[in-house]
Amino acid sequence: MPDQVSLKVNGASISVPSGTTVAVAMALAGQLCRTSVTGEPRGPLCGMGICFECRVTINGIPHCRSCQSPCEPGMEVASET
């Protein structure tokens, strides 16, 4: 297992320690997970897969819970609007 994993967050490359969740990668990249329907910024609240506040699009699949998704090499993550 490599020590570092490279992925893309909103088009920008980032390298994170292996085993890092996408939620943490988003935070390290300084990116919001999503914007609520009323236009408010959203990110991880519970951190354990219950609140669904940290949803992001991963490899084109919308509404993935970033706190439950480990980063994988070459992954493409996008904030949801």
Partner: protein
């Protein structure tokens, strides 16, 4: 309550009861509505919310078309939360036999002034790219719409209240008819006219009404804007939903204003419990994925059930109940009550006030069922 005598007491605050209350109040009658739960909590909350024309019979067509036009006239007054969306329906044909049905439906509607458009396989795929390949085509009914039923019921009830109607919620009934409604806390409401609009529970309140509970399941997804553009219904629905005896599922999906996808439908007789039946959900979602494989990749956020009020001839009961001159029925709308609520209210109130109904009312009169029994 200050006064317990009214012109009309309506039992049931679903969309039908709410529409009736609004219409009685509009024509100046003093109305009370009682419900054991909250507004729109029964079949209304288990309805997909389609505002559609249907052609199973001339009577069904007349009622759905009249009501659809009433919704169109009301459209600009509906608050945003009602989520009225004229997305149109596409009846999806899987084989040549169903394409023949598409052409029959097209001619039926053309004869009656309802615009529709026949889609070939290519146009169907362009209209709904997430449908599977190999379907034969479909019929687009562009004036069909969808809305969010509980908020529509609440809107109608609030307008009735603004027009003077009184609403009593959380009230269980111990008796109904003979000019009064007796609540289990001892309160008695008297009125010349009692309307049983209790949907799937109407037969429990008025024994002898031929209305049976038919259970349905619904699934709603997270938000996936542009995944789906029209309401889609399989024409195989004709083969499944019309069976009055057995449990059935059919492909019926709707795009909601929120970007969510509402997935139906299922029909079960004899199920008395409200819990989700895993087997029915699996069958329903498998059927949906046969038409739209990509549905399998979406997240569902809620599954729920409800009971619809089914009659043997699939037409509602609207009018006087033989044997009790004070009692009128507005029930038995099964899966079309959201569409037909407004027309039901019009023709019920027309009968009671002596106004001229815009469509013939005979097919919906409760006495038709009594006649059938007499011949049986």
């Amino acid at each position: 309550m200050a006064n317990t005598t009214y012109d009309v007491v309506i039992v049931g605050a679903g969309i039908v009861g709410a529409a009736c209350a609004d219409e009685f109040a509009r024509r100046g009658l003093r109305v009370a509505v009682v419900d054991r739960d909250v507004v729109g909590s029964g079949a209304t909350a288990a309805g997909m919310g389609h505002i559609v024309v249907m052609d199973d019979s001339e009577a069904q067509f007349a009622l759905t078309r009249y009501s659809q036009q009433l919704w169109q006239a009301l459209r600009n007054e509906l608050p945003a939360e009602v989520e009225y969306d004229q997305c149109g329906t596409i009846w999806v044909a899987a084989d040549e036999e169903e394409m023949a049905e598409v052409r029959r439906k097209h001619d039926f509607y053309a004869d009656r002034g309802v615009p529709t458009e026949i889609l070939d396989a290519k146009r169907l795929k362009q209209s709904e790219p997430n449908l599977r390949d190999g379907l034969q085509g479909g019929l687009l009914v562009p004036e069909d719409a969808v809305l969010y039923p509980p908020c529509a019921a609440r809107f109608l009830m609030q307008r009735a209240q603004q027009r003077g109607a009184e609403l009593v919620l959380g009230a269980s009934l111990s008796a109904l008819g003979k000019g009064r409604v007796l609540l289990s806390d001892g309160l008695q409401l008297t009125a010349e006219i009692i309307v049983n609009a209790a949907g799937a529970w109407s037969a429990e309140l008025t024994p002898g009404i031929d209305v049976k509970k038919r259970k349905g399941h619904l699934v709603i997804t997270d938000r996936y804007p542009a995944f789906l553009r029209h309401q889609l219904v399989e024409l195989g629905y004709l083969k499944s939903a019309h069976s009055v005896a057995s449990d059935s599922v059919a492909f019926n999906v709707q795009p909601r204003r929120t970007g969510q996808i509402l997935i139906g439908s299922s029909r079960q007789f004899g199920a008395e419990h409200k819990e989700v039946d895993q087997q029915m959900i699996v069958r329903m979602l498998q059927r949906a994925q046969e038409y739209m494989p990509a549905l399998g990749q979406l997240s569902a956020i809620r599954i729920w059930t409800g009971f619809r009020a089914a009659t043997p001839d699939k037409l509602p009961l609207i009018g006087p109940w033989p044997g009790d001159p004070s009692l009128f029925l507005a029930t038995g709308h099964e899966g079309l009550g959201i569409t037909t609520s407004l027309a039901t209210a019009r023709i019920l109130v027309d009968q009671i006030t002596g106004a001229n109904p815009e469509i013939p009312i005979e097919p919906y009169l409760p006495s038709r069922a009594s006649k059938e029994h007499a011949h049986a």
